[in-house]
Symmetry: C2
């Protein structure tokens, strides 16, 4: 029960963190490779306090962490956190694909009947 | 550009709607089949105004719609909206799987060396 509650709060935090275009763009950038705060500032035309705030939200959600280089303090992606979010969506994705397959099957049958 | 902005706002709204455990539970319930507001109230032990507020958020995010029965006004899932969210996560999921495969490959090689 405690684990389930923890997981629920983690998902709340994860989805809330993803509900912002800058934070999603930062994650997409970090998917290519780690980057320092300075490196992240340029493409997003954001001030350091703003980007730091976004990075804190992503860090708290477990999406990113600080790399090993103590001088540069690069941020990098923690893949498993996004995997949890993806896992939650999996049954919906499967249902949607099953529906598309049924539709496809239906159209094929209609075409056969038309022959 | 207008389409891109629209899509960005849709994703913001979609992720924000998913950042709540009751709303995620409502979506999971509706994945099984359509349900009226009364039917949704019972399992969640929520008042009608509270559940209506959650349903409005899910409707605005494009996740649910009202069914054809004008009397019962059942709510039902709109699958494509969740598919958009799943699509956004797809590159991260693929990267994560590639990493797991690499790890698997690495472990297999280590085992071979150990033979």
């Amino acid at each position: 029960m405690a684990i389930q509650l923890h997981q629920t709060q983690r998902l709340d935090q994860a989805f809330a963190a993803l509900a912002d275009p800058t934070r999603r763009a930062i994650l997409s950038r970090l998917a290519v490779g780690e980057a320092t705060v300075t490196e992240l500032m340029a493409p997003f035309a954001l001030t350091q306090p703003t980007i730091s705030k976004h990075l804190k939200v992503l860090e708290d959600a477990g999406f990113i962490e600080r790399g090993r280089d103590a001088q540069r303090r690069p941020r990098r992606l923690v893949a498993p956190a996004l995997h949890d979010v993806s896992d939650w969506l999996e049954p919906f994705r499967r249902q949607w694909e099953a529906r598309l397959n049924n539709l496809d099957h239906h159209v094929t049958n209609l075409n056969k009947e038309g022959d």
